[in-house]
Symmetry: C2
DNA sequence: TAGTGTGAAATCTTTCACAGCA
DNA sequence: TGCTGTGAAAGATTTCACACTA
């Protein structure tokens, strides 16, 4: 939809550059070099420059990048120029923790609905929101123009929830359940603690990365 | 340390295959084809076969893989043949949720310590464990042979905790804080909600995957 | 001088396509 | 017949190295 297509690997790093820039900005840094960003994001400087080149960014040779302008460019590239409605389904320990997550700062992601199927959880308050019956979800999503769904349910029901989210028109899903979701066309990202631990476990024996 | 070196991309998928096999085993399936696994893990069958070939696995042509044997091979490759001690530092909402995580099933990862710096949190009980003062951490780690540290602290102190973990000999870190950690040689994996949402946000506008 | 922007090389990953075997 | 195992091709990503310029 936008000019040049940015490689997946680059897209995955843009949020890290952005975060680093926000910290630098808070520290009052106006100009930043690829080398500086690279150190903060743990990659090499050539990669930073190549990544930024996809944004059509103009740094200044011999000087570096204007950090506030670069921040703006990255936000534009990521589409962080408008707000996104987010719902969380499954308000157990993890779902509640995610609902309370405060790392959004000045981000554009707004949690607008919390859902659960357990009568004991429905009606309880988490942060500013009251947990609603998951049966209200479809109507709420339509009404609030929700675009992103976070699944934090038990694995057994995650697929069902994903299907339902997709039927409601949600095209982006962040899945914390221990399942690989089958979806029609939604974009799914999966986060799973035991997978991560197993990967770490491997490199504990086979050290290099 | 083990025979052949397995590509990173493959290592990252092995836990998914393993999980799929465990489900299949629970359903009573004895023989599994690359095609079957592929469907469950959302990848293509050639990739499954290539991945499994790094384990030196012998499937049976025309038939498939013996699912229990394949499970054993993957567990061996991942080093899941012994137990791992894990500590969690930062027992806020997220840390507590992780401590209560039950997805380990018959896994080999055991949470053996919970730490926090807040006097109000220290002493409280989460699951079976009592949250201890982070000052006890170094001694506890040495005593319990802890190999993996999970950081769920505020971003501001995450680096300090990481440095400390490394000094205690912990070589694997799972970082849930919104920071890129600088470490000497530890292996770090990072999980961050706002990064994931930003990536999803990008693909919401630039649909393809 | 110090740091960007980028072709071209090196490396890693995925996919194809098919020989080979139970 | 049906599915594995794998070379070889295609594609993606990373890194190098250097021309260029404020």
């Amino acid at each position: 939809m936008n000019s040049v297509t940015i490689p997946k690997a680059t897209v995955a790093r843009l949020p890290l550059y952005l975060h680093a820039l926000e910290i630098l900005a808070a520290e009052g840094t106006c100009t930043v070099s690829s080398e500086m960003l690279a150190r903060r994001v743990n990659v090499n400087a050539a990669k930073v420059r190549k990544d930024l080149s996809f944004l059509g960014t103009h740094g200044v040779r011999g000087v570096g990048y204007d950090s506030s302008e670069l921040g703006t460019r990255i936000r534009e590239a990521l589409g962080l120029t408008r707000d996104f409605g987010v719902v969380i389904v499954g308000i157990g320990n993890l779902g509640a923790a995610l609902a309370n997550y405060d790392g959004f700062g000045e981000q554009r992601f707004h949690i607008v609905g919390l859902y659960d199927a357990d009568p004991g959880t429905i009606g309880s308050k988490v942060g500013d929101l009251v947990v609603r019956d998951v049966r209200h979800m479809p109507a709420d999503i339509a009404e609030n123009n929700v675009e992103i769904g976070i699944i934090a349910t038990p694995a057994a029901v995650a697929q069902e929830v994903a299907t339902q989210l997709e039927q409601c028109g949600v095209r982006s899903i962040l899945n914390f359940a221990q399942t690989v979701l089958q979806v029609e066309q939604a974009d799914v990202r999966r986060v799973d603690l035991s997978t991560e631990l197993q990967i770490l476990g491997y490199y504990l024996r086979h050290d290099q990365s």
